[in-house]
Symmetry: D3
Subunit: 161 residues, 6 copies
């Protein structure tokens, strides 16, 4: 599905704008094989396991339905890009979800932390891997992220406890 | 050109992923008419007017050529999105470049400030408009952005002085 | 009213401090004509239209009353500066509220997003203008601001839906 | 207690890694005398005075118990470092809690603001000192931190009102 | 001088805007006594001691002269506010410069770090006090600020070495 | 070596402070086996391959020598923690360097990007893995990090070109 997306995706139109790269080289390197990751658990299973996850996923679904309804062209393209980057590719999807967790913790976004922790869990990440990822973020991001760490551990406890 | 891009752009593939929105509504609202803005000045003219701009544009072009050569699929898509957002659309391109200036100043990125100040200039923004945009950023972002403000004023002086 | 403020505002006293600029030039350029914008809707009307806006405005008013009571000199001066920057001036008040929206979204502050979205609405910004502003922020600020985007769209839905 | 910790703390092991400094000089300068600050109020007394503080301290204690249970080695070391830095030392503990308040406000973390405001209060900081610290943060961090300022004043009102 | 400024400063005009606080209470609490701090060293003396400081101060003076020339009303008011906050007041000027150092390091602004480290030095801060302030910032802000710490230590070495 | 450090590391002293966790559970879970990663290339080899890397490593070594000389107790402990987190452990060292790269790019720190890109290279990361990591950061962090991306690609070109 995602692969098909890539095939259909139009070559970046030639443009004189400074914002975009020249496009001549597009054909040089084929887009890497990307595919949907194989989740070990459905969102529903996660929601049954963790009340925190359930509330997060439900709120997210409700709000996304509203964004969806607005049907904003750019938002859809951005969401699509966001979807693509976490597919199986040069790096395993699980590794990229854990990277997303590190970045989310450093940038101190609770929703993003929940999102990536849940997806890493669905892809088989162990609790130790999640904690180690959060540790990388803690050292890089400092004590200012400790309140987020505390909330993340509450989620981990529900998912793995 | 950009419009053609929109036509060719594949409808977001249906996907089960949480990253993307459902796509059913895509046809509801047509993508807004977008077109390349009409610049009053070429980059070359800007570079002749301002030594700071010249150095920035040259370094940027040299480094972008290198990124271009790498031909990374995701980077190209992101650059393309970045290009699209600043086109004439619901809001005038000039307004969006000034918005980019405000955001760049708040986020404290010198290169981004130079980029948007130069583009706003090319689109006919007055010095007073640039200063007022920087003032919005100064109040929102605080004194931590003053070093960037100082450097921005040096560029404005060369462009408008 | 605001104009009167400017008239009464004392010329910055001469000072030897490194923090302030020299003042000799103060008279060179008159302070730009600034005036209160003409709102299309009162806060009360906004609160009647949107439950999210109502809760935000009420909490804000209650907390501001408390700050007001403290009567801190510096806070009052800062609030005053903050007030001044969004007045009609070189740039229209509506444009500056949308700039405030972009910056608030990039800096990921829900309260600030609500504040500027409400004010832009009160000044006649269309939903498409608000969405386009959020798009500028999305591209500049990245997926880390998507949770804020989702909440912003919920507010937009109530205001314009 | 903290002092004993320092004595027991192993000299940084010699290592070839780029991450750590060479260790030869460790003995040159003795670790500064550090000791637990003398609090004027217990957490319990603070919680009785302020409902906001009570809720913050209880949530924090509950979540920390969970982190504690996880017994993550790196987290414990980081918490320990975090504990050490706020001890009485070259700078008074109260000053450092106020510094923590400034940084927390600039970095816009409500929990961290509450934490440091409460500790500064427990160490005898006056309300005027807390407000002045928040003012430093306001000027440095800009209007984006005003929502946090408002909430901080609500806490200050309960603690000192 | 600064005190005179406060006297001349117009009471915030009554305004209906949401940006400003109501003004009724202005007379309740007199503005705190503020005065210029007594510097132990002139900027010239600092520049003679440290090549890094000399270059920073010269560049800053040159760029500020340019900002000064632009004579932007809002910038002048912000600079003035920024000047006022670091005066002797409820907290000693030296403490506030060290707070500025902590915030600058957490927000990772080299120029701001240099500025506050130089001013703390001019006000008699010891090297140990500067290092301890940087330590607070290091724990709060994490390893991402280590490159700035390294550069700060180079300046400290020149100032105190 | 690092393992020895862990053995010598004192159990966190019991403390009444709110900053630290209670320590009772320390013995429950043994500290994970951690060891120095096996680098494929020495820093010297990297420096010979890339002029950008050489300048970065030399400046870093020179400035670190200065920090080292200061022999600040807390800095040494933080550096040590920073060293420990990137050792081989629950997650491979290479993965954690790539995580460091993602976080550094999102937090927009050129020196940190160079550091982690160089270390990932020394641990055998391919160029495609580095690019994919930067892509995760680009989508999360947005266009504001493009200037850093450009400079990162220049380094990658020298290392892998």
């Amino acid at each position: 599905m995602a692969k098909r997306l890539l095939c259909y995706y139009s070559p970046m139109s030639t443009t004189t704008s400074e914002h975009s790269l020249s496009e001549h080289a597009v054909s040089e390197r084929p887009a890497p094989e990307r595919k949907e990751p194989a989740y070990l658990f459905t969102e529903k299973q996660v929601a049954e396991k963790s009340e925190i996850a359930r509330r997060f996923l439900e709120t997210r679904a409700r709000l996304n339905a509203n964004v969806d309804k607005a049907n904003n062209f750019l938002v859809k393209r951005f969401y699509n890009l966001d979807h693509t980057i976490y597919l199986e590719g040069t790096l395993p999807a699980k590794t990229k979800e854990l990277m997303g967790l590190v970045a989310s913790a450093c940038l101190r976004c609770d929703d993003c932390i929940s999102y990536h922790a849940i997806h890493a869990y669905r892809l088989g990440a162990t609790r130790a891997e999640q904690e180690e990822s959060l540790n990388v973020a803690l050292v890089i991001g400092g004590s200012i992220m400790i309140p987020h760490l505390r909330r993340a551990y509450e989620l981990l406890e529900e998912l793995y406890g």
